[in-house]
Assembly symmetry: C2
Homo-oligomer: 588 residues x 2
């Protein structure tokens, strides 16, 4: 089996050459007694033209057959500028069928009408589509670029175990029954967090791994039970240096994969700034439409929603949807209100600025002076639409306006979808207060280090204690994040205490790890990037499933292999486990 060229290679300069090609029949069409075949391989498509002498033999050739073709390159009479090889075609002199193919249950082309479930069931055909080939090649380019970058910076790729110890609490572990130790279980890692910290304790100083992680979380539309993480940790480096290394990695990937040179350093927003301006810690910064804090502006306005919010130490924020007052009918505004309500806002207040003055249901609550102050604060001009949410809870105001902002950004085409706008969000709060359980939880993991200047706030003012933690954000998606870690024994104990851990909980959950921190732990920190998400955004896809070779569907099954499946009783017996008969299996 031989080929002289691949199917993406031939150009006008090859005209007259004798060539041999191999590929799949992507398309076959007859023109009288002539037959045209588009021959496809990983590298592209070349048009083959067969004269009438082949007509009979070609009758058996169907789509997705694999052919080897001998012929000579000729110039096309009607060139196809959309194809890399569109200037030429190959006049066949001989051909051979390498393998046949059954009629495929889906069209193997970028334009396919197959349902996603069909695409996943016949994934090997779906992956033949040039778009999917391109996606996985882009993903490979990303990992290659990342590895080159980290290798050249002296990071060591170290593999950590996939059969670990289960940690109760946190996201759900996938368990793996042990046969040798019946009744005991390994757990698949949710991330290599503890191991990468122990590698710092081990003195490796610079570690990375592109690691699979597993979370048995409740399923959402676009979540996978296994995902891939670029995991990085380093010792003795300042947060500035860690961010520099992180953004350098992103810049190299953008250069290598997209040919785009992004400007460094990336800008940084504090978590507080991000919440104030965008209402969200992963803002899409490709467009403005920023939130305006109106707490002081509307403090005296006699509108019950605002008043109640502010009296309960809550918040009022607004957005100026510039030059859209006339575009937004009542119905469109109702639509925005629905979005706000999804995020628990009780409603959405609005005003329209027009030549005739300011209109809207809440206009009457403003004195002229109050209105002028408002318009100035929001930089409002004629035909601007102003939207407001007030609520006792900061997160309700932020969540609802952030959702409206993202919706409007897309709807009003406020940005070029092909742009990539990266930023760091830094200085996250250490703790999150949970109303239900009335206690503070670590916003990150309990080994996240407070900012040096906030260490004493662990006990005195946990709410305002900031973490030396950071996220990297792209176009409204969190790509990843990290932090400095606590490396001092006594600080770790204070952090555990502030989080309400009992000694017993610490021992049972983290004892083996905390033990390790006592033997000379270097200052260390790092980050992790969600590779699937990076690949999705760089490929311009809407779904993680389009950048994973063999993904699971939204009910965590593989439509191709049908995993998971029942297994033989003998297998379970050997593991010393049984299936509870009273539990019913959800249908797939």
């Amino acid at each position: 089996m031989n080929r002289t060229h691949n199917n993406g290679q031939l150009r006008m300069s090859h005209v007259g050459d004798n060539v041999e090609l191999i590929g799949w029949v992507a398309k076959k069409r007859n023109l009288g007694a002539l037959v045209f075949i588009d021959l496809r391989d990983r590298y592209g498509v070349t048009q083959i033209i067969f004269d009438e002498s082949f007509e009979e033999r070609l009758k058996e050739v169907k789509n997705e057959y694999i052919l080897q073709v001998k012929g000579s390159v000729i110039e096309r009479s009607s060139k196809n500028p959309k194809m890399a090889t569109g200037d030429i075609e190959v006049q066949a002199k001989d051909f051979q069928i390498i393998n046949t193919a059954k009629l495929t249950p889906m069209i193997v082309a970028d334009e396919t009408d197959a349902l996603e479930e069909t695409r996943m069931q016949y994934r090997y055909l779906d992956l033949r589509r040039p778009m999917m080939q391109e996606n996985l090649m882009t993903r490979h380019k990303i990992t290659r670029s990342i590895r080159e970058y980290l290798d050249n910076l002296d990071f060591i790729d170290i593999e950590t175990p996939y059969l670990n110890r289960s940690t109760p609490e946190g996201a759900r572990d996938f368990l793996v029954p042990s046969r040798v130790h019946k009744g005991e279980f390994y757990a698949l890692p949710q991330s290599p967090q503890l191991f990468k910290q122990l590698l710092m304790v081990s003195g490796f100083e610079k570690y990375y791994q592109i690691a699979r992680c597993f979370r048995d979380e409740d399923l959402r539309a676009d979540r996978q039970i296994e995902f891939t993480q670029v995991d990085v940790e380093m010792s003795f480096l300042s947060t500035d240096r860690i961010l520099e290394i992180g953004e350098g990695m992103i810049a190299k990937v953008m250069h290598d994969v997209k040919g785009i040179d992004i400007e460094l350093p990336l800008r940084r927003l504090t978590w507080h700034e991000a919440m104030e301006k965008y209402g969200i810690d992963k803002p899409d910064t490709r467009f403005g439409l920023e939130l305006v804090n109106l707490n002081h502006i509307v403090a005296d306005v006699d509108f019950a929603v605002f008043k109640n919010a502010l009296e309960a130490h809550g918040h009022v924020k607004g957005i100026n949807v510039v030059a859209q007052a006339q575009e937004f009918s009542r119905k469109k505004i109702d639509n925005l209100t629905e979005i706000a309500k999804t995020y628990k806002a009780k409603g959405l207040a609005w005003l329209k600025v027009s030549e005739a003055g300011v209109q809207g249901p809440i206009a009457k609550f403003f004195t002229e002076e109050q209105m002028n102050t408002l318009l100035t604060a929001m930089n409002a001009k004629e035909n601007d639409l102003l939207l407001f949410v007030g609520d006792p809870k900061y997160e309700v105001v932020c969540d609802s306006l952030a959702a409206i902002r993202n919706y409007l950004g897309k709807e009003l085409k406020l940005y070029d979808p092909s742009t990539f706008d990266f930023l760091w969000v830094v200085d996250f709060p250490m703790f999150e207060y949970d109303d239900e359980t009335q206690r503070y939880y670590a916003k990150h993991h309990p080994f996240t280090r407070p900012k040096d200047e906030d260490i004493d706030k662990l006990e005195t003012d946990p709410e305002n204690c900031l973490a030396d933690a950071y996220d990297i954000v792209l176009n409204g998606f969190e790509l990843g994040g990290g932090s400095q870690r606590i490396y001092e024994q006594n600080l770790q104990e204070r952090a555990f205490k502030a989080l309400g851990f009992t000694q017993e909980q610490i021992d049972s959950q983290f004892g083996w790890f905390v033990e390790g921190l006592q033997y000379g732990t270097p200052p260390h920190g790092g980050f992790a990037l969600g590779l699937d998400r990076v690949a999705m955004l760089l490929c311009g896809c809407d779904s993680l499933r389009d950048v994973i070779a063999f993904p699971k569907n939204t009910s965590a099954t593989c439509p191709m292999s049908k995993a998971p499946t029942p297994v033989a009783k003998a297998q379970l017996d050997e593991l010393g486990i049984g299936v509870n008969k009273n539990e019913s299996t959800e249908s797939k």
Copy 2:
């Protein structure tokens, strides 16, 4: 926190420079009021000298404390040629304790008297030992070199799922209970075999992955339940080209990692030649001591063991242990006999060639002419020791003599342990006959392709049907192997039939995969390398555990985290499984 240099960096050219270093206290010793500290980091060790002014402050500094030291580089009065930085030392001007350390339960140095269980329990300390750091860095160099090689040859790194479908039969799967589909299970992959073949069906043409694999096999001294495989597959290429790509990869690794340029192409032995010459399909070819087939030579000798073996269509083979007759006492020969018996030989026959003639218990069975023929066949000279095994079973003869050969090779120092002798073993048999079940089994997996010229032997002569399969062997270890795969529907059916699979078995075990082969499968083949083993041999280690960051011990537990562990009943309930109470847990 700052350092101007690392601890492996300073040389005579730096004398007079002011430097800042960071590292762990590897050793501290007093010389009068002077204190010497060896400061260790990932890059090496530098000696720091503290004058008497530091004596008091240094009292609290103990081994494995982390120090930051400011000082100036001075020439050592007594240089240490064994240390890269042995020409200099740093005269401390100031220091700071970055972190303290508890007394370590083991000595953190290459020379340690810690038991392996202790080393594994405190793995983070064990990994600080320069030897272990070196091992993991070598491992990283190997993967980096492999990736560079394959990336540059246009291979795409594609991740395949870790949560798969269980395949009954074969090695035991690790199962993962599904929470969403209660009573059903995922399985961790034993290898990405089926997925990599489907990627060829998908048209990627050149795939690789450095993938974790999982096998719940019975434990042996040096086996891990998870291991790492360099997995490679390609389409449209001849076996010669696949081997060329494989050995090119090995050559690059040897060049990049060991600085050794091995000669290519590697020599190839057929499986039959390997068995004949070495009695084993993974021969250590660093030394001779080859087996001699004596079936025809001793056909008429009136010695019952030989006679019985040959009459039962068995075999007689010998080894000439050159110039060792006088060295091998009766006791030493008994020792060899024990080895032979371990491999089921009924005994070990022997002769010693001396000036006075040939001596030994079996000498009397030979006529003079028979003895002369034997000595000629074995190229025997004075003081040679000749060893023989005869048995009705070929594998008994081979196994026992191969074990004796490997033993003698090491014992008699017949090779330089620092040499690396690679070779391919090719043309493996397709089938292995199992006496117990009286049927043929695939020696590889059932998708292995027979050699073109042997296809018809599938039905007519399965015993002599050879596979287009190959192993790569180094110094007596199988590093990996692979094959061409069956890509034609009808041939696959013939192979399944020859292996005694029923249609039902095919459907239930491989149905989803075999379905995929029908839509235009290209000719394809590939190989897989055991990365852990490659790393072990290149590091010159005796155990896989020395090249894995966090290995399991021989009872498949992690002495550090204590995984596996019992889990909360709530976790099991959520998965719909229970532990069988009548099963006892083996003690760890």
